[in-house]
């Protein structure tokens, strides 16, 4: 099956494609082509038209109400835009296959994995049910899923996100398509899982000699996967070229702005403190550099900590027996201790199920702990009166990942921002409150006129600014930012990072920055705690953790991050296995790790003496 890469005739070529939804043109005059055996990355931020392009190739955009105004999409000398849906059905899944972004929702929950893979084989290949089942098994082996025979009988909800995405790949490759379109296939996955999926896709593409269109917003993934790159901006192609050219010598101002905004792991090597960096901003076609460069030396270790967490344990009962007694528990957080000082950013990094969000919620009293002590301003929660607890809620504010879901869609944003002020009765008089709301909105880069608008009228980045303004409204000492940057485009992300840093410098805010993104964490934080299955694996200054990681898991995480440099050598050998489930039977609690301190302030978990079961390594099952 090994076809040498790069025959001359393109497999797919798009010419002058324009796609319209209602009155809006979302793709304009787009042209590019893909050759067999090559990977073309289509890069762009939200609203750039990249997903519509891929759905247009499949002619699935029709079902969403797309009109193809001009252009052609030639595949094997057939113009797909002229094909009927009936003809397209013979091509879809057989000649051109597609993988989607959300592995958790891509598989139909009511059918078994086996049925869903066999379905596509039985549809396009003239084979028996038994032969299809055998082939499905073979496909699951190919995407390196263990126990393929058992897996065929299982349902999607019994699989992790990474496993589901592998099933999706197996399903897409079932009929050996000539072209594979992957629309953000790893965006929703943890980094170590992402690295594994990318490896599998790269290997299979080479084995099958497929052409691949890889749609992503992540420049790191582009650098790792692509041969060629098309950069899209507002529905148009702004630049196109071989991947090394694009990274080494970007021509279009947008490409340059995009590349400069990408957080790069290792960008602060040798620095003791995070740095606020100026931004390249695109205004029309001209780019300007805005903002100053400043060392973020704001942490006041001489002052007592704002928040101090000691030996925190949080457990969730997962399953109960008939008498209501728990039989299975999730050890969400086990023996976690840390301090956050005024002006300091402590990052909690970890993958899904690591307990990072639970810690944040417990500090904010949205979640009760099993044991352990949390003190705020030196006073333990346990000893606080109800009034003190209420006051504490004012001084600790939370910013969530999804800015849209965390704003009431039926209230004007001015109301949402004013709510903490009114709840805590910080300012008297509606005029004064209004003035304060305007001030806050202006401080986060919006205008006072925005107060009278509704959340749906804002872009994602603006909504997150509103959430920040709301968090600031009660004059907090600590802000817990739970994946607050994860849903934003990189250029917006860079702006919000700077906003966070400016506010910290201005007000001496402390941040608990919860994130899975190592590169962003490196840019933002003074200290870092790496979590795995509810326990701290390693904690220390940013420099200690990123430059001299002592724990295997930290190294694994760091090596899994895609590097936005196509010339960089990849070393993903370390990465194997799925993230284990933190749910266990009662009485079968995971071992609690103790910590060494190889350097002052640098803590590393050691294997526990109590139970010797290794907690890393292959957990795929």
């Amino acid at each position: 099956m090994n076809i040498s890469a790069g025959t001359n005739a393109p497999l797919l070529s798009i010419k002058d494609l324009s796609v319209r939804f209602g009155p809006d043109r979302v793709v304009e005059d787009l042209s590019f082509s893909v050759k067999a055996g090559r990977t073309l990355a289509v890069v762009g931020e939200s609203g750039s038209g990249k997903s519509v392009t891929s759905l247009s190739v499949m002619r699935l955009a029709d079902m969403m109400g797309a009109h193809f105004e001009t252009g052609s999409i030639l595949f094997n000398d057939t113009d797909l835009l002229k094909a009927s849906q009936k003809q397209m059905r013979l091509i879809r899944g057989k000649e051109i296959a597609m993988i989607f972004q959300e592995p958790m929702t891509s598989l139909n929950p009511v059918f078994t994995i086996g049925d869903q893979i066999c379905e596509v084989l039985l549809l396009h290949e003239n084979i028996s049910k038994a032969a299809a089942t055998a082939e499905a098994r073979h496909l699951l082996d190919m995407v390196r899923l263990p126990d393929s025979e058992q897996l065929l009988k299982r349902y999607p909800h019994q699989l992790s996100g990474g496993m589901r995405q592998r099933v999706m790949i197996a399903m897409a490759l079932a009929c050996r398509p000539k072209l594979l379109i992957a629309d953000e296939p790893t965006t929703a996955l943890d980094v170590t899982i992402q690295a594994q999926i990318l490896n599998i896709m790269r290997d299979l593409q080479r084995d099958f000699g497929m052409g691949m269109i890889f749609i992503t917003h992540d420049m790191g993934v582009v650098a790792e996967m692509a041969d060629d790159v098309v950069v899209m901006w507002k529905g148009r192609k702004v630049e196109e070229g071989p991947v090394r050219e694009i990274f080494a010598n970007p021509q279009h101002p947008y490409t340059r702005a995009l590349l400069s905004a990408v957080p790069r792991l290792g960008s602060l090597t040798g620095e003791d403190f995070p740095k606020r960096m100026p931004l390249t901003v695109l205004d029309g076609d001209t780019q300007t550099i805005v903002g100053e460069e400043r060392v973020q030396d704001t942490a006041r270790y001489d002052l007592p900590p704002v928040v101090s967490v000691k030996d925190l344990f949080v457990r969730f009962d997962i399953r109960k027996n008939i008498l209501g007694k728990a039989t299975h528990r999730c050890s969400a957080v086990s023996k976690v201790s840390f301090d956050i000082h005024p002006g300091e950013t402590l990052a909690l990094v970890g993958e899904s199920g690591s307990g990072k969000s639970t810690i944040g919620r417990t500090i904010q009293q949205l979640q009760t702990s099993l044991s352990g002590e949390i003190s705020f301003n030196g006073k333990s929660y346990l000893n606080m009166s109800a009034a003190e607890r209420f006051r504490m809620r004012q001084e600790v504010q939370y910013i969530f990942q999804d800015p849209f879901a965390s704003l009431d869609p039926r209230k004007k944003v001015g109301f949402s921002v004013a709510e903490p002020i009114n709840t805590h009765q910080l300012i008297d008089g509606s005029k004064a409150v209004r003035r304060r709301v305007h001030e806050l909105l202006e401080r986060v880069g919006l205008t006072s006129a925005h107060a009278d608008r509704y959340p749906h009228e804002f872009s994602g980045g603006q909504r997150q600014r509103v959430c920040i303004a709301r968090a600031l409204a009660s004059n907090p000492k600590l802000i817990i930012a739970d994946e607050a940057l994860s849903a934003l485009d990189v250029s917006i992300q860079a702006q919000i990072i700077n906003l966070f840093m400016d506010l910290q410098a201005e007000r001496g805010l402390a941040y608990l920055f919860i994130s899975h993104d190592m590169a962003v964490v490196e840019k933002m934080s003074h200290r870092v705690a790496v979590l795995y299955l509810g326990q701290i694996m390693e904690m220390g200054s940013r420099r200690q953790v990123f430059e001299t990681p002592k724990h295997d898991y930290t190294r694994r995480l760091l090596s899994a991050v895609p590097v936005a440099d196509p010339t960089a050598e990849r070393n993903t050998d370390l990465i194997e296995g799925d993230i284990p489930n933190p749910v266990h039977r009662v009485g079968d609690e995971p071992a609690i790790l103790s910590h060494d301190e190889p350097n002052p302030g640098h803590f590393v978990a050691t294997a526990s003496a109590r139970k010797s079961a290794p907690i890393f390594g292959k957990h795929d099952a």
């Binding site: 899944g93 989607f100 139909n108 929950p109 009511v110 379905e119 909800h157």
Partner: protein, 307 residues
């Protein structure tokens, strides 16, 4: 599963006791069956009444009567009707199949109509077909069922003479009651199917099914329908329960010899044994339907089954 069934059984016992207690108590407040029996029967003495009360057992304290009824339930001897002295079990045995059959056929008519129509409305959202289906649904919702029933009788029995106007006699007699109920139910159900289908069609796996090259029929009826089955089953189950209780109006219009008619007459005659029995049977049926609904959840959704 065993634990689940035990829970359900206990729940059923509780429901039956609660309902029969309320109904038995309430009906006894509305009048004396002994008096009702004598109406138009000439002069009666206090002694006559007392004799009748003693014969019926209504001279006992309420709680004794109720315990007697419960004992009858356990021993499956529901006593005799106050009017005519027929065995209550026999009356129920005749009326129950008539009602169940009518309810099943109405339900089947509605499911067969509402699923394809609801799906059609969902897939053509905002377009002509959707508008027409929605308008018809609204019209159907606005009809009082007895009015529709009367109109059908006027048209098909009186004017055209195609169908028997009332009674249960052969297949033809089922047509009008079933259509009346079926249409009224369809009007609601079509909206439910449409809404639930619209939501399911937004799912990523529908896009994936299309990307496989499956035909729209397969995408809709295989991939989407089973996923919107949970809300539909819940609602259809509730509706079936409601149907059994609410069928009384239709049974009256078409003079259908079902539980509704039986209950209606029993209320008029203060026929306690019959009324209590009908109510008990209905509540057991509704508890049973809910159990079936819960089992059906597990069948259509593996996420519930494998919990």
């Amino acid at each position: 599963m065993a634990g689940f069934l035990i829970k359900r059984l206990l729940q059923a016992i509780f429901v039956v006791i609660a309902i029969t207690l309320v109904v038995s108590f309430a009906i006894r407040l509305t009048g004396d069956p002994a008096v009702t029996m004598f109406q138009g029967g000439g002069a009666m003495t206090e002694a006559d009444l007392a004799r009748i009360r003693a014969a019926l057992g209504t001279d006992q304290p309420f709680i004794v009567q109720y315990l007697h009824f419960l004992k009858g339930l356990v021993t499956l001897d529901l006593g005799r009707s106050f009017t005519g002295g027929t065995s209550v079990s026999l009356l129920i045995g005749e009326a129950l199949p008539a009602t169940l059959l009518l309810a099943f056929i109405s339900m089947a008519v509605s499911v067969v109509l509402s699923i394809p129509l609801g799906i059609k409305a969902a897939t053509s959202k905002g377009k002509g077909a959707d508008q027409i289906i929605r308008i018809f649904s609204l019209v159907g919702l606005s009809f009082p069922n007895f009015w529709l029933a009367t109109m059908l009788v006027l048209l098909f029995s009186i004017t055209l003479g195609w169908l028997p106007p009332s009674g249960m006699s052969g297949a033809a007699s089922y047509v009008m009651p079933a259509i009346t109920m079926g249409i009224i139910l369809t009007a609601t159900n079509v909206r439910l199917v449409r809404t639930s289908m619209l939501e399911t069609l937004q799912s990523q796996y529908i896009m994936v099914a299309r990307a496989k090259g499956l035909s729209e029929t397969k995408v809709l009826y295989k991939h989407a329908l089973r996923n919107c089955a949970i809300p539909l089953i819940t609602y259809f189950g509730l509706q079936f329960g409601g149907l059994l209780g609410g069928i009384v109006v239709i049974e009256r219009v078409f003079n259908w010899p079902g539980l509704g008619t039986l209950a209606f007459d029993a209320v008029g005659a203060r026929d306690y044994p019959v009324l209590q029995a009908v109510i008990t049977v209905l509540s057991l049926l509704i508890v049973g339907i809910n159990l079936l609904v819960d089992i059906a959840y597990g069948l259509v959704d593996p996420r519930i089954r494998t919990e």
